[in-house]
């Protein structure tokens, strides 16, 4: 069951709209408020990564799909940028006190599973993130 399937321009100005769509989907799927806030953060950070590191400032779109698979909320983010080198995506050591690089740490910290899947024809990357519904 998909509750969100929308295409957004990959720009910082549209992140507010993406967050609102994620929050609404999380509500519809019955996530507790605190968990919903975590999922909103994870999707926002993943979209930022697409804007900054996949599209590298070029124009493009992000397709946001959110649905339910059994006990899990499933988020799929599809972009049309060149395929990213997944081996180069890693959170930095959290012990280091420096300004950048926290986004990937947040995503890994709050979501249960994060993986790049084979994208559909014509797309560049497909990131799937799952979160158990009902988990505090």
């Amino acid at each position: 069951m998909s509750v969100v399937d929308r295409r957004f321009p990959a720009t910082p100005a549209r992140l507010t709209e993406i967050r609102a769509a994620v929050r609404e989907a999380a509500f519809l799927l019955g996530l507790p408020e605190a968990t919903a806030g975590d999922v909103v953060l994870a999707v926002d950070e993943a979209c930022q990564n697409i804007i900054r590191h996949a599209y590298c400032g070029e124009c493009g779109d992000i397709v946001v799909q959110i649905g339910r698979d059994g006990p899990h909320l499933v988020v799929r983010l599809i972009d049309f940028a060149p395929p990213v080198d997944v081996s180069r995506i890693a959170p930095r050591p959290i012990e280091e006190l420096r300004p950048g690089g926290l986004g990937t740490h947040f995503i890994r910290e709050v979501m249960d599973d994060v993986s790049f899947l084979t994208p559909p024809d014509g797309a560049g990357n497909l990131l799937q993130m799952t979160k158990r519904i009902g988990e505090p």
């Binding site: 806030g37 909103v40 953060l41 926002d44 930022q48 006190l97 950048g100 986004g103 947040f106």
Partner: protein
Amino acid sequence: MNLDKREHMGAVVVELAGEVDLQHSPRLRKALMELMLEHRDVVVDMGGVSYIDSSGIASLVEAYQMARKGGGRFILAAVSQPALRVLQLARLDKVFAIAETVDGAVGA
């Protein structure tokens, strides 16, 4: 994102409110950098922050590091629950000086 500045008992208080995200955090970073150059003690009132992401946190980290280098103080006050959650995820809730109230931060 709303950002206002005021002087309070010798310190500069930045009232930060709304959503601090990738679109708005460059303005926060610029404001904090300028303030840290001009003032020794800066307090950020985060009571009205409804959302903050890694780019907003990065601006706070940069200001904190600047204060440490210059011997000043950079204090977060009245941190909202959504902002505190993100600080905790970043393990920064034990790094930053955090006061329950602005008055407490200024008097600290």
